[in-house]
């Protein structure tokens, strides 16, 4: 496996870096402080082809591979983790499952719009009583009069307020657990779907995180994604890709922290010299750089496996848990290097610190990632 990006990968990386530096860095603090949804920047991201990166060109996407995808996500998250979350959900949690399990008709109906930014996608899995235990979900899907009737409440839906297309998981069969679940493509214009409470959050504050309320929501038969009872499998396989996306986001946040801290350590003078000359600071930076590199390589490894169509649940979980804990650790250390300044909104460190935390929680907490890794390990031995 090559760990050096190709010429094309490097150019995609530098293009997205330029986009993020021009369009996101200058507004990231304002988006965060005012909980403002980055609509204009999303339009420009869609123009560049960032909303459907791995969608083939025949469905209006950019036709990129997973390596290009994770390189781009790192660059977006380095500038604005919230922006990346919106892009990441659209790509990895909505476009990907439609591409893998959608009918030809579903692909033609939804992918071009999702890739061009004409529609935005969201992922509705979590419920008030099913978080880590996602397969115990209770939203019901009843087949009646030639259509599906969905009822229940989904929570913590990223982009819930703005999304046009919701990938909803509901229990359609009598069986408990994963095998009783089906996946549905629910348009916001369908009768019976509404946006509920919007959460006030610690970080990634430019994203909306809302309830999606389904009150006898009528969904046409042709909007079932995959087969009846296949939803649990779709949800779990989709999350493998989502975890790689979150790992790339965490790598981006960790890199932002390290870049800021390294620059500050060279410039901040105390006791007559830059603080970067003190061993306590040097060793911290060295450790942060080493962890960052390791997190990035794990992420690239998982992306490479997924690109090749090989099993990657274990590697995706490893990348996600290691990268997210690296982001949190690095943010913690970077705030410390900045001291009091790091605690203020005059510097971006406190935002990185707040943004980093979500990566240890969503798309499977760190504990769930360890559960996935251990299950995989013990099943093999």
């Amino acid at each position: 496996m090559s760990v050096l990006p190709s010429d094309e990968h490097r150019m995609i990386q530098s293009t997205v870096r330029e986009f993020a530096t021009r369009e996101l860095l200058p507004i990231a603090a304002d988006l965060d402080q005012n909980c403002r949804f980055p609509r204009e920047a999303l339009t420009r991201a869609a123009d560049l082809g960032l909303m459907g990166m791995t969608v083939p060109e025949e469905y209006g996407g950019a036709g990129m591979d997973m390596m290009a995808y994770v390189l781009a996500q790192e660059e977006l998250a380095r500038a604005c983790a919230g922006f990346q979350a919106i892009v990441g959900v659209n790509n990895s949690l909505v476009c990907e499952p439609i591409l893998r399990w959608g009918s030809e008709e579903q692909k033609r109906r939804y992918l071009p719009d999702l890739a061009a930014g004409r529609r935005l996608g969201c992922y509705c899995l979590t419920e008030p009583t099913s978080g880590s235990d996602a397969m115990s979900l209770r939203t019901s899907a009843v087949h009646r009069d030639g259509q599906w009737h969905l009822s229940g409440t989904k929570i913590f839906v990223t982009s819930g307020a703005e999304a046009d297309l919701c990938l909803v998981y509901a229990r359609s069969e009598r069986e408990p657990g994963a095998r009783g679940i089906s996946a549905f493509l629910v348009e916001k214009s369908f009768p019976g779907i509404s946006v509920g409470k919007a959460e006030k959050k610690l970080g990634i504050r430019c994203t909306s995180t809302t309830e999606i309320v389904l009150d006898d929501c009528r969904v046409p038969e042709e909007n079932l994604l995959g087969e009846r009872g296949q939803g649990g499998r779709i949800a779990l396989a989709t999350l493998d890709g989502g975890r790689i996306s979150v790992a790339a986001q965490a790598v981006g946040i960790a890199r932002a922290c390290l870049e800021e801290a390294a620059a500050y350590a060279q410039q901040r003078q105390q006791f007559g010299r830059p603080i970067g000359e003190f061993q306590a600071v040097r060793w911290t930076l060295a450790d942060a750089a080493t962890r960052l590199e390791a997190a990035r390589l794990l992420t690239h490894r998982a992306a490479d496996l997924r690109q090749r169509g090989l099993p990657c649940a274990r590697e995706a979980a490893m990348a996600k848990v290691f990268a997210s804990e690296t982001a949190m650790w690095t943010a913690h250390k970077a705030v410390q290097i900045f001291g009091g300044y790091g605690y203020t909104q005059d510097y971006p460190l406190e935002r990185y610190f707040r943004d980093a935390k979500i990566t240890e929680i969503y798309e499977g907490t760190s504990e769930i990632q360890r559960l996935v890794i251990a299950r995989n390990l013990l099943a093999r031995s």
């Binding site: 010429d7 094309e8 986009f19 082809g49 950019a62």
Partner: protein, 264 residues
């Protein structure tokens, strides 16, 4: 309309100062191990050409001098941004050649291309800032030249270019073919390539010519009498001066100092 954009690859001007170095032997900037990018104004020139392509379907070809291995990134980026094809004059000595010599080589390459209506260059390169290539290129080709152009407009079908001057701009009617040197302006901010065009760029044609393929115009002195004797990195010094007195005199003295320094 056929447009040729001349691109130069330079060491990234945003390189941290600590990584900047001069080679005392060649009196040239050390390029090895430094990131190379398209010279700043050359990217504006490419953007102007691509806008012509968007508006009227002009064909856009990029031309560069340099060792093939070193210019790959610039060519790939230009093709990804939207240029149709590229010509590389595979000349490892390019970074060491004086502006006049490069202009002669570019002119020879452009003659070899055949029918060309418009040749665009940056108004100056980000490393040497000589500003000689465009006029010398036009001279060699025997065509018109307008420098410091920010936009190309059209009046009754004839191209009219906006030439930036100190206190505004001139509108200049141009007879084609012509060489224009392009300066930056809010209208020609270089576009970012679309992700799918980055992959498509791989399939666009790139021709490589050897310097020996070019028929240069005769001249008695290939370096045109330019010799670089020494290049020094200026030393930065700062001096602080306190003025004393009452406010009216202070203001007068301050203004005088600023005038002496040619800052006013």
């Amino acid at each position: 309309m056929n447009v040729v954009v001349c691109l130069k690859q330079v060491v990234d001007p945003e390189l941290p100062a600590k990584d900047f170095a001069m080679d005392p032997g060649t009196q040239r900037q050390v390029r090895e191990g430094r990131p190379l990018v398209i010279s700043t104004y050359d990217e504006n020139a490419l953007e102007v050409a691509l806008q012509l392509k968007d508006a009227s379907g002009a064909g856009v070809k990029v031309l560069t001098l340099g060792a093939q291995a070193a210019v790959g990134d610039a060519i790939r980026l230009a093709l990804a941004m939207g240029a149709d094809e590229a010509v590389v004059v595979d000349d490892a000595l390019a970074p060491e050649r004086a502006g006049a010599e490069k202009a002669r080589m570019l002119a020879a390459a452009i003659r070899r291309m055949g029918s060309v209506d418009l040749i665009l260059t940056g108004c100056e390169s980000a490393d040497w800032v000589e500003r000689v290539v465009a006029p010398l290129l036009a001279e060699d080709l025997g065509v018109a030249c307008v420098t410091f152009v920010s936009r190309i407009e059209s009046r009754d079908g004839a191209p009219v270019v906006r030439r930036m001057v100190e206190d505004g701009h001139h509108l200049v009617e141009v007879r084609l073919p012509a060489v224009l040197s392009i300066t930056s302006d809010e209208s020609n901010r270089p576009r970012l390539p679309k992700v799918k065009d980055i992959m498509a760029a791989k399939r666009k044609p790139v021709q490589t010519w050897a310097p020996a393929d070019l028929v240069l115009t005769a001249t008695s002195d290939p370096a045109s009498g330019v010799e670089v004797r020494q290049v020094v990195v200026p030393e930065r010094t700062s001096r602080c001066e306190f003025l004393t007195g009452e406010p009216p005199e202070l203001v007068e003295a301050l203004v005088q100092r600023l005038r002496d320094q040619k800052l006013l």
